[in-house]
Symmetry: C2
Subunit: 154 residues, 2 copies
DNA sequence: TGCATTATTGATAATAATTATCATTTTTAT
DNA sequence: ATAAAAATGATAATTATTATCAATAATGCA
């Protein structure tokens, strides 16, 4: 049976890995909810509704795997949960960053100003990778502060 | 007894908090090692050498407190440990960002190109805080990739 | 299509970082 | 010096993540 994005299937095949039901389901969750950042728990519950056989360990393993492959990206907003979202390397994922409220944990995605950012970061990435012999795969940009709601509650 | 940075003492006093021995020791560790990012464990061991009475819970509590006050900043590099470093709001802390190896966890600080970054980010922060009514306190910028060592080992 | 090989899975136990509890100790203002 | 309240340390509790291992499912090939 062939499932999910053929490009990803191919890449897995090439490295001796298999495109399994669990992996396809988890990939679909990300593909169908671009711009959302899921914790392992959230992925588990959604996946579990689709196929109740899926276990927690598989979710963690799959998230690790997809992150290693550069398909999803690890994010940490400071609330103790690791979250994941599709990388910009994937189709249809717009360049965006995050605004994180350090009080309530709320996360806002923003896409403004990113053309300028994009240019600057492309330049910085190039120079840094040369200077430090570092192969840069992605970047994380977060603005931390207090959101509207939390700010008013004082 | 008066201890540590007078400005910080004052701020604590104003909010009904006290400048204690433990807090002064932990503050000194950060002040004396700018640009380093410490995990709670590391802070515990260093503080413990200075005053073996200090307990783990106090370290966690103090780190939380200093982060709330904007004196230190929480960082997560994806290895499961939360780390902290002095914020740029503090004296003598240069503007810098991080290069994180997703393979071995190595972190390189860099300070290049940050003048341009600084300008752009000042602008972005201003616009974002207006648009989203968000009071921005700091930002986190990380480039993730594979370091020299890990890249060669294949 | 059926079969053998082997990656993957699910259930569960183990690990490890962080948080909560509470009696005791320190700090501070008076 | 003392009373009031904040902070501490020891430890238990919580919780996210990782490791283990027998059972299962995916793949390549006949």
């Amino acid at each position: 049976m062939r499932r999910g994005n053929p490009w990803i299937c191919k890449r897995m095949r090439e490295e001796g890995m298999r495109m399994t039901q669990a992996r396809a389901i988890i990939l679909n969750i990300f593909a169908g909810n671009q711009g959302e950042h899921f914790s392992a728990q959230e992925i588990f519950f959604i996946a579990h509704r689709i196929n109740p056989g899926i276990g927690f360990a598989t979710v963690y393993r799959t998230l690790d795997l997809l992150a290693q492959m550069g398909i999803i990206q690890k994010l940490e907003f400071g609330d103790g949960l690791t979250r994941y979202e599709m990388t910009e390397a994937m189709e249809n994922v717009p360049h965006h960053h995050h605004l994180v409220c350090t009080e309530c944990g709320k996360v806002i995605d923003y896409t403004e100003f990113t053309d300028e950012e994009k240019e600057l970061f492309a330049k910085v990435e190039k120079e840094l990778s040369e200077k430090y012999k570092f192969k840069i795969k992605n970047h994380i940009i977060q603005f931390c502060g207090i959101c509207n709601n939390c700010g008013e509650r004082r």
